[in-house]
């Protein structure tokens, strides 16, 4: 193909262009022509097509996501908000923490190992780009039925990919989720979270300021992998031809990324960059247009200077390539020499590819010929915005009007059977098969990790300041009521860090949904965003950023609406944290919060193929009082554990198996109390001497507490049902090895 230049485009206005194949709608193509006053060159068309894709432009979600800004609670903690690579919050002592979660769903179905690996790699670069040292990762994962043949292909590959990449980067993996549902068959969800820490003064932004400053590309060479991965894969629902898309998935090299991290941190420490952006989705198209529009406004790039792994790549392909492990920095000419020296020390390939200019032109040349001349803002920020039609889907009234009809265990043997069934259920079973493939110790600051309620990392070895993070979603509730479901997930994530004694501070999210072109899905999405924004406002927690993944559907079947909510909190002294379980006998167990008959969306209902009824309503005022109680009780709680999926049954199972110390509890209405999933409940273990202290803070915070029983022994005893720890452990730990080898 002959080189298409701006000059040629001006003289051949009627040349037909493959805009539809690149995913652009006719009116979008017309708008590009209007912006440019001519037809785009093929390189410009490539840039617009990737940057205006759903994944990069958020064109279907923008109108809803702006609620996170409009309803933002007043927060002194927020240092950098939505719109940058990741949000940054102040955690005290001069430290700032940045965290974000992103999806890599579609690539992980096509090529599980590389899809998951590059998902980790991408989010880690986002965190690095803010100027932070990445300190931990987490991975909420969702799969088709646990016993489905394709899950045996997808799950081991994704787990190995997450581990293979994260382990090689030296980042502890401190938590996540593994959940199964038939709607995720063909649409596995791979959400990756990374958290990083820096001093306030070290925050970096994606802006190319200062005419004459240099545009520097460093890291891996550019290859043909992932060309158009973003637009081709993420913005198009899977049809029958999945496997033919394999070449669009990026291939990761964690070793290169590890070196890139250390090299970048050394560069940041010497304050050598004005602005920085990683190359992720949409590659150079994204980095150059975002940097330019975030800074002085203009940029000149000599595309032929980009170092290539494959010399046959065309300029269009170079602009679209999503080769991993690349960064683009803006460097003052006086500092370039030192910048190059540090790259040389780390054997990192580095090339000056252009310079910042005043004005409003992003000009890209190829061997001296002008092939791109666009206002960068129109590429990066002025993409199309759709107010897509939305309508409450028919199923809502249908499922909400039914009630859950499941057997309620009553006799001792039925109770025992129910507890064992829940302990072994794939959604609740021991996840060591997964988490033992992740390094949780590296960096030496991991205080908590799976199966604790949250991940916790020490960020200062002298003061013992730490952060805790939990990610949660309950897609069953979101299916029944997406507005409440989002609020409930937020409450659960906040509760999961408060049980350890960390105060919730900020929120990130990864919103996984079906096709936005389906008004029912769009309604689920809109309701979820509304619920999360309302919930964050009520709880006073700012949303610092997030990610939207649409088109998670195969044919007409969309995934359950799955808003994964991450909450980050601060703990002043990690040594004071409350563990999730007890190590000694003779402690009293108390339930904080009341139990109602909340079976809709429960794991027990799921195990009986029932997805009907009404989800509980989130009572965030009560959740906030519960959090205060937990923080006040942190000084004397021996253990605290959140109750969520699987209710009291799962909560007790997890506690007694953690340190192999049993418990004896008596319940009035054991059947319902064990399987109900009423939100806002926590089990705590205390020394009996502290009973009045617990009662005092419970009254103060208006939280109902009930004594459940005591710890000790080698069994979980519930009324007359005695379940030995040995048989409970076997049930809990054998599911994953049986399914996945």
């Amino acid at each position: 193909m002959a080189l298409d230049t701006v000059a040629i485009a001006q003289t051949t206005p009627d040349n037909s262009q493959p805009f539809a194949e690149l995913g652009l709608k006719p009116d979008e193509y017309a708008r590009i022509k209007e912006i440019l006053g001519r037809r785009p060159t093929s390189s410009e068309l490539a840039m617009y097509s990737v940057m205006w894709s759903e994944h990069c432009s958020y064109k279907s979600s923008k109108v809803h996501l702006k609620q996170f800004g409009e309803k933002a609670p007043k927060s002194d903690a927020l240092l950098v908000g939505i719109g940058e690579n990741a949000g940054v919050v102040d955690v005290g002592q001069g430290y700032a923490v940045t965290f974000k979660i992103e999806s890599h769903n579609h690539p992980s179905f096509v090529e599980p190992y590389q899809g998951a690996a590059t998902g980790v790699g991408g989010i880690v670069r986002d965190i690095l780009t803010m100027g932070a040292r990445p300190i931990a990762v987490m991975d909420p994962l969702r799969f088709g039925p646990a016993d489905a043949p394709d899950t045996r292909r997808v799950l081991p590959g994704i787990v190995a990919g997450v581990g293979g990449y994260g382990n090689c980067l030296g980042l502890p993996n401190i938590g996540g989720e593994v959940t199964f549902d038939e709607t995720y068959a063909g649409n596995p969800l791979v959400n990756a979270l990374c958290v990083g820490v820096m001093k306030h003064s070290d925050i970096k932004l994606a802006k190319a300021a200062g005419a004459g400053n240099l545009v520097v590309l460093y890291g891996a060479k550019t290859g043909g992998d992932g060309i158009g991965g973003v637009s081709v894969l993420a913005s198009e629902t899977f049809g029958a031809g999945g496997s033919t898309k394999r070449p669009s998935v990026q291939v990761g090299d964690p070793f290169v990324e590890k070196v890139l991290i250390e090299c970048s941190l050394e560069i940041f420490a010497e304050d050598l960059v004005v602005g920085i952006q990683d190359l992720g989705g949409a590659g150079l198209s994204c980095a150059t247009s975002e940097l330019a529009s975030g800074g002085s406004g203009g940029m000149k790039v000599q595309l032929d200077k980009v170092p290539l792994r494959d010399p046959s790549l065309s300029p269009e392909e170079i602009l679209m390539s999503e080769s991993q492990e690349r960064m683009c920095a803006i460097v003052e000419p006086s500092k370039i020499e030192r910048f190059l020296e540090i790259c040389k020390k780390w054997d990192v390939t580095v090339t000056v590819i252009g310079e910042v200019t005043d004005g409003n032109h992003l000009e890209i040349t190829w061997n001296g010929e002008l092939i791109v001349d666009v206002p960068p803002r129109t590429v990066a920020h002025d993409g199309p915005v759709y107010n897509r039609p939305l309508a409450q889907p028919d199923y809502i009234n249908q499922v909400n009007s039914q009630t859950v009809n499941v057997p309620i265990p009553a006799t001792a043997s039925e109770i025992k059977a129910a507890v064992l069934k829940l302990a072994a259920a794939p959604n609740l079973a021991d996840k060591s098969w997964v988490t033992s493939q992740y390094d949780k110790y590296v960096q030496g600051n991991t205080i908590q990790s799976q199966p604790d309620d949250s991940g916790m990392i020490r960020i200062d070895e002298t003061t013992n300041l730490g952060v805790a993070i939990s990610t949660d979603a309950n897609a069953n509730w979101s299916y029944l009521n997406p507005y409440q479901g989002a609020k409930l997930a937020l409450a659960e994530a906040a509760r999961n860090i408060a049980t350890a004694g960390a105060r919730p501070l900020a929120v990130t999210n990864c919103l996984n949904f079906g096709s936005p072109e389906d008004p029912g899905v769009m309604w689920q999405f809109a309701e979820s965003v509304r619920g999360l924004a309302d919930g964050c406002l009520e709880m006073g927690l700012p949303v610092t950023g997030g990610n939207v993944s649409f088109y998670n559907q195969t044919g007409a079947v969309a995934i359950l609406p799955t808003p994964v909510i991450g909450v980050l909190g601060v703990i002043q002294d990690v040594r004071t944290r409350t563990p999730m379980s007890f190590t000694q006998a003779g402690l009293d167990l108390f339930l904080l919060g009341e139990t109602h008959e909340d079976l809709a969306g429960s794991e027990w209902a799921f195990l009986h193929d029932q997805r009907v009824g009404q989800s509980p309503d989130a009572d965030l005022q009560r959740e906030m009082r519960l959090i205060e109680l937990l923080l006040e009780g942190n000084s004397f709680f021996a253990a605290a554990h959140d109750l969520s999926q699987g209710g009291l049954s799962a909560g007790l199972t997890e506690m007694v198996l953690r340190h192999k110390v049993g418990a004896t509890v008596s319940l009035e209405n054991a059947g319902v109390e064990l399987i109900s999933e009423t939100p806002g409940r926590v089990i705590v273990a205390i020394d009996p001497a502290h009973t009045s202290r617990l009662e005092g803070i419970a009254i103060k915070n208006s939280i109902v507490i009930t004594k459940l029983g005591t710890t000790g022994g080698d069994a979980l005893t519930i009324n007359d049902a005695v379940i030995s720890l040995a048989e409970l452990s076997t049930a809990h730990t054998s599911t994953f090895p049986r399914l996945f080898g």
Binding site: A160, D439, K440, V442
Partner: protein, 222 residues
């Protein structure tokens, strides 16, 4: 007393190892793979990680690093050297230790708390332990299965050069449950599990890994 901690490209546990050296009572000195300079250290730790991305074979490229030529020389003259995980692999590739580390028998990366038994407390890095002491430290690797030929195995066993063994089920298929070995003089140790991640109960499963780092002080005082 100065203990050097080497950083290769792709080394991950260098800061952890330096922390353990300091908690153990010595001064930690960073050594860069590309610098042929041991900075007058008294002992060297080769930390864990994926040096050079484990390309070709684990440790196969690192052994050619300029700093390693000096480490090999010094080790042969008796300087204490501890290689942990990837460091163990580098020592085998450098022929300071016999045998090789191969893929775990179940082919998965494995991270877990591992009970090991210290079976030789006469080396520069194990003299703080009681003979036969059982300790819990993290094991985390993808290629930790120690393999060697029968003759080498008989030599290692016969000369007391197996310094630590896994207890319980074999985690990775290592011959004779070997978790660590020494050279003939006992100054060079290769250890698959990670004592540097077990220096306190806050961040590790125990503080029992610290013994390796206090041992080196004893060895120097003697």
């Amino acid at each position: 007393m100065r203990v050097g901690v080497i950083t290769f490209p792709g080394t991950l546990d260098d800061r952890d190892a330096a922390r353990a050296v300091v908690v153990g009572g010595a001064e930690a000195v960073s050594l860069w793979h590309g610098d042929a300079d041991l900075k007058s250290v008294d002992a060297v730790v080769l930390p864990g990680g994926f040096s050079y991305g484990d390309y070709l074979r684990c440790g196969a490229i690192s052994r050619f690093a300029p700093v390693m030529q000096l480490v090999i020389e010094a080790a042969n003259k008796g300087m204490p050297v501890l290689g942990i995980c990837n460091g163990f692999q580098v020592l085998c590739e450098s022929h300071l230790l016999p045998g090789a580390l191969t893929r775990n028998s179940d082919l998965h990366f494995l991270c877990r708390d591992q009970v090991i038994e210290v079976v030789n407390n006469q080396t520069a890095w194990t003299n703080s332990f009681k003979q036969g002491e059982k300790i819990v430290i993290p094991l985390k690797n993808g290629e930790g299965s120690f393999q060697c030929d029968d003759q080498t195995l008989a030599m290692l066993e016969g000369e007391g050069r197996v310094i630590a063994r896994y207890l319980g089920e074999n985690p990775n298929g290592s011959r004779n449950l070997i978790a660590g070995i020494s050279n003939a003089k006992g100054n060079v140790i290769g250890l698959m599990p990670h004592p540097e991640h077990a220096i306190n109960e806050l961040t590790g499963p125990s503080a029992q890994g610290l013994g390796f780092f206090t041992s080196i002080l004893n060895a120097m005082v003697k």
